[in-house]
């Protein structure tokens, strides 16, 4: 789902950068309000954890494998605003230090994976888990459902961003200047792949990690997060 540089037009990149600035500002304020300097390592752990999740290949039936983004899992563990910062940090490190993902497309990538993914996933999780006890299996199901909803909606956003490029940016003879496929191709390509494969990778990772953390230390699921 990482959008590299050159897939989106400068205007699209600028638009998503502008959209993300107030989101990052609110996230910083929300995190500062409840997180002391003492707890900054906790935020960095969330970011590193998100990064590590993306490195893990999860085995799938038939011998193939895929990797999860982990945004919903991080949101469940440290809250959606803190997850927004954590996933943003993971994406910045990937783009800037490892050359993976885009610098100009950072706003769009963060919108999809650091905003839509954790927030949709977290609130679906909250809606389904309601006030169930920290160790209940309902929370595992809620985490899986949240992860699935979050990743599929983020993929839909990425598909729309790709699909709008040839409609908005082309030469007089119809030559696409950026991502070449329209909405009729880009949206199904992104959404179907995530509905059928990558969504389930996200479900497996999120639900199983929640299950194991419940067994090891269910304090992670007590109370509301940021």
């Amino acid at each position: 789902m990482h959008i590299p540089d050159g897939y989106l037009s400068p205007a699209t990149c600028g638009l998503f950068g502008a959209v993300m600035i107030p989101i990052w500002t609110v996230a910083s304020k929300a995190v500062r309000k409840t997180l002391s300097v003492r707890q900054v390592p906790y935020l960095a752990i969330g970011a590193a954890f998100s990064f590590v999740i993306m490195m893990f290949n999860v085995p799938l039936p038939g011998g193939s494998s895929g990797h999860a983004v982990g945004g919903v899992l991080v949101a469940i563990l440290i809250g959606p605003w803190a997850a927004c910062i954590a996933v943003t940090v993971a994406l910045v490190i990937q783009a800037l230090l490892f050359g993976d993902g885009g610098i100009t497309a950072l706003g769009a990538n963060c919108f999809n994976m650091a905003f839509v993914l954790p927030f949709v996933g977290y609130y679906v999780y909250k809606l389904i888990s309601l006030n169930s006890p920290p160790g209940s299996s309902r929370r595992i199901i809620a985490a899986g459902a949240g992860a699935y909803a979050g990743i599929c909606l983020a993929a839909l956003c990425a598909g729309i961003e790709f699909g709008l490029q040839p409609l908005l940016y082309h030469t007089a003879n119809g030559q696409a200047l950026y991502s070449p496929y329209g909405l009729n191709v880009a949206v199904p390509a992104m959404v179907i792949g995530h509905l059928l494969v990558f969504g389930w990778v996200e479900v497996i990772v999120t639900a199983l990690v929640v299950k194991y953390l419940q067994k090891q230390n269910s304090v992670f699921f007590e109370g509301d997060r940021l």
Binding site: D5, L8, V52, P59
Partner: protein
């Protein structure tokens, strides 16, 4: 079970290898950043600004020839900065541009991009027609991606990670983000080492994990365990930061000093960008 099948089913090996390759790559990047080369000698702030200007130019231009010219500059900068050509080409061409090339292949044909035919052929009874807009669009797309990736990789290879993080602060990125990024980067090594140790322990006891469900459980248990252990270390990390004199503002031992050479470089970079934009308007 054959070796090939074993290899296919053993998810541990690829996971560890990819994680280690990632970190090894990061270490190598620092190795190149420490070499005495042209880009390494520049002030990181002005170098980052110039590369951002190149990047914006690369994604704004509408001519593959002009973007290719920018790629040519990248290649020259890489050589002047003592980056091995093979390493540079592998890093910049093998992954994202190659994927983009495969992705864009169908747009070559008239069925996706109608227009003036360039050539046609028959394969297995099917008639394929490559069109001019399809070909031009695909070339432009792939050259743009390759150039963008090259610029980012070149910046990353020739700048120490700690300096890049300091540049973020200088460019106005809030302290919370910069601090989290720098700490996260250190945690990555710790996480990867922990995961590697756990996987090695599992492999030494059970060998190949042959069923995907077992493999999924191992991955999830590892992630849960990693989270659990590192959150417990959070307090210790903070105390260690305090003991080293941490006051809330990250500091670098090296202080940036822009010299005349750095300003000349920035001017040259901006002139190159302006020149390419001007040519782009004419073409």
């Amino acid at each position: 079970m054959s070796n090939a099948l074993n290899k296919k089913r053993d998810f541990i090996e690829p996971s560890i290898l990819s994680a280690l390759a990632f970190l090894k790559d990061a270490t190598l990047s620092e190795e190149y950043a420490n070499r005495k080369g042209f880009l390494q000698s520049l002030d990181p702030r002005l170098k980052t600004l110039s590369f951002l200007a190149f990047l914006v130019t690369a994604i704004s231009l509408k001519s593959a020839v002009l973007i290719g010219t920018l790629y040519g500059f990248c290649f020259i900068f890489a050589i002047l900065s003592r980056i091995p050509v093979r390493h540079f080409l592998v890093r910049t061409l093998l992954f994202i541009p190659l994927f983009s090339l495969f992705m864009v292949l169908p747009t070559l044909f008239s069925i996706v991009t109608p227009g003036e035919p360039v050539c046609s052929f028959h394969v297995l009874g099917l008639n394929g027609i490559i069109t001019r807009p399809g070909l031009d669009g695909a070339v432009l797309f792939v050259v743009r991606i390759a150039t963008s990736v090259s610029l980012v990789v070149l910046l990353s290879l020739t700048t120490r990670h700690s300096e890049l993080l300091k540049v973020l602060r200088v460019l106005g990125v809030p302290q919370l983000f910069v601090l989290t990024i720098s700490m996260c980067f250190r945690y990555l090594y710790l996480f990867a080492t922990m995961v590697e140790n756990i996987f090695t322990a599992i492999k030494s006891r059970v060998g190949v994990v042959s069923h995907h469900r077992h493999g999924q459980n191992v991955v999830a248990w590892n992630l849960a365990n990693t989270w659990n252990r590192t959150t417990q270390m959070s307090e210790e990390v903070y105390m260690a930061m305090l003991s080293r004199g941490y006051t809330g503002e990250p500091r670098l031992l090296r202080v940036f000093h822009a010299t005349l050479k750095d300003w000349v470089w920035l001017c040259c970079a901006l002139i190159i960008c302006a020149g390419l934009f001007y040519r782009g308007q004419i073409l």
